[in-house]
Symmetry: C2
């Protein structure tokens, strides 16, 4: 039985009249399996959501990361409402801004200070400016295929860019020390900053954990050459470790950017840094109409407190391990070999020896149809609301989906799935 | 009696330990009168707010613009809560995204489509990229001293920039057709876009309304040369006219950016554009973790409906006119000549024949001390919650403040007030 998507389709047709592409950005239907996914959500609670056609899904995407305790977590909602009853967007910050900065500085071992914005990009971009101000150098090094936001220096899109936007942004290969060393050698005293994610999570490909010593090597070279080492921890931060993902992987950057798991869906981003960057950070102007808003800060304080109090991060790791083991087992039963890559709390499934993702799309469509929402081209996210019985149900559905995939002969094509991979650059 | 600010000071001292500058951006105490303004807000309702020391203020800043119906407007709060009870940040947009895009396209006469972000900068920056994509040209022309956000091409800050950031951004003088024409002539076929605000509202100076025919002249030249004409309506949009501020001033841009008054403090920004820019708009990638969030969209729909239903824009214009007339009269009683500049709903007061703003600072400090929060260096904002009796009370307090200002001999200095004007560039 195919998924009932009539209302999603109607809304999308209306949207296409008045919104370029109907839905743009990470939620665009062009990035999932066209016609096999809802386009509009109606309601969400815990680890479940319902689309506008009334279909119910166990959720493995968590709004692409922000939802870490489950949708509409009672404690976070109550904290947000308490603050909202006083005020949100005001002439001045509220006291919660100071409390939240103190909290981040106490959670993140190297951090002496914190600032807040709305988008992840607000923070990655501001951090490279702080690095340029601190070093008086121009060059930024980052990893091929890494996502750091939509600002001109880093967007994966192609439109509207001019060559000056990236004249001083250079890419090296993940987990390739020689590639990194060559970039540093080539640009030597011109490099202001290196920006990395704590593990590599490109679209359309398995996630790659850092090789032993790789990030420590980058850290050491940055220290030697006076390069600012920036961790883009927006996707993984506070999902892998309460102290930031550098603690999970065992290294230490000079600045870190957070956003997604910070406030369980309330809009906020943060950057933290070492003491020696404080003066430069004071000289790079940052502001936004809603950057001092108090409700997301209250939500962040409660989210962080709940994560800690409930041992939620260890729980998500356990849940993710059980899910990954179960997926491998279910696939094996149907003669399929899958790779579940990335940290357990941010898993991604691919079929071995297949680069075109046709089977990923097939598998995702079969899961979505049966009530599990997961993504064929983007890593998934585990929330603390996902229970052991949810995982059992997911595995039952995955088994049925693997059975469907196993019945279809392998495609001979080595190329990407048509109409999907052209959307965004993988540099 | 000086204002009691002990708790604000304590919090600020704590903040300085963990936040660069303690408070950064537009709310930094460095931009108001140091020591004469609260730093932290506790609670707000209608046209009033209370700081963390319990001081009560009639508010003339509206959180620097977003609050247009008054703080915690019951209708907007109820609409936001209804949506929040379903969900906010989800895997897909909610139906309200389509409704809001349809609403903007129906409100703004030239608009065929709309997109949404969080920050004003998200939209101004995306619009110049759309213009570059559409024209395949690089140059951006904007007005000296105009504020379009904090992205590298436009930030008023100095730190962290490199020359490439603005290699193709050129400035012309407000209300000076010859200056604009010279820029267009000079860069001719290289100009992708002209970006203007509907009136000129620089920091540290009176606001300047457009001279008759000035914006129509820009519009005509843009049309003749295939330049995209972008209106940055973030500060004034939906406070001067339900159809966008170009209707208030009688001209027509190709794209407009909105944010502040759209959702009464809920974080959202929007851009709308003409049909011929739709294809380019589809090619410039835009996204953000919270850009599809449903609560601010529901709040925007309710804010726009309330503005329209209650005739709030005409009301704010009347309130602003009464305030401006009363301020001039009160100043005159004390032998002071003041200019109240800008549209009535976004007034700004300066003392004639004084460029250093010492008397502005003195006046603001005396008003704040007596319970009216207004700004010495930034335009003010009227909300629909400000009543005639609020205006009477403001004028009483302004009278007392003018009396204090009149008692102090004029400063002979022609320079800016120390420690304030160096903070931001006025290009």
């Amino acid at each position: 039985m195919p998924l009932h998507l009539a209302h999603s389709r109607q809304l999308f047709e209306r949207a296409r009249q008045v919104i370029p592409g109907g839905i743009y950005g990470h939620a665009t239907p062009a990035l999932v399996v066209p016609g096999a996914s809802p386009c509009y959500a109606h309601q969400a609670e815990g680890a479940r959501y319902w689309d506008v056609d009334g279909n119910e899904f166990i959720d493995l995407m968590c709004a692409y990361g922000p939802v870490v305790l489950g949708y509409r977590h009672p404690g976070v909602e109550a904290a947000a409402q308490r603050q909202a009853a006083l005020g949100d967007c005001l002439n001045h910050p509220a006291a919660v801004m100071v409390e939240l900065a103190e909290r981040l500085v106490s959670l993140v071992d190297f951090a002496a200070w914190a600032v807040f914005g709305k988008n992840g990009s607000d923070m990655t971009t501001w951090c490279i400016q702080v690095a340029r101000e601190h070093t008086r150098r121009k060059k930024i090094l980052c990893v091929e295929g890494a996502y750091h936001g939509v600002d001109a220096w880093c967007t994966p899109g192609h439109g509207g860019l001019i060559e000056e936007d990236r004249a001083h942004v250079h890419r090296f290969r993940w987990n390739d020390e020689a590639s990194f060393d060559a970039a540093v050698t080539r640009y030597a005293d011109e490099v202001a900053a290196v920006v990395v994610t704590p593990y590599h999570h490109p679209l359309f490909a398995p996630s790659e954990m850092p090789a032993p010593g790789y990030l420590a090597h980058i850290q050491a070279r940055c220290a030697r050459h006076g390069i600012v080492f920036i961790l883009d921890d927006i996707r993984a931060g506070f999902r892998l470790h309460m102290g930031g993902s550098h603690r999970y992987f065992g290294f230490e950057p000079d600045m870190s950017c957070f956003s997604k798991a910070m406030a369980n869906g309330y809009p906020i981003a943060a950057a933290v840094g070492k003491p020696h960057l404080r003066r430069a950070s004071e000289r790079v102007f940052l502001t936004g109409s809603y950057w001092n808003s108090a409700v997301p800060m209250a939500a962040a304080l409660e989210t962080l407190a709940t994560l800690e109090r409930e041992g939620a991060i260890a729980g998500m790791e356990r849940t993710g391990r059980a899910l990954a083991a179960g997926l491998r087992e279910q696939a094996g039963r149907h003669g399929l070999e899958v790779e579940v890559s990335g940290p357990p709390a941010c898993p991604f499934l691919t079929f071995r020896d297949e680069r075109n993702l046709y089977r990923n799309q097939h598998f995702a469509a079969e899961c979505v149809r049966r009530g599990v929402f997961l993504h064929p081209h983007h890593n998934w996210f585990i929330s603390a609301a996902l229970t052991a019985s949810d995982v059992e149900r997911i595995l039952d559905i995955a088994g049925a989906a693997f059975e469907c995939v196993a019945r279809v002969p392998r495609s001979g094509s080595a190329g990407p799935a048509p109409g999907v991979m052209g959307t965004l650059s993988q540099e």
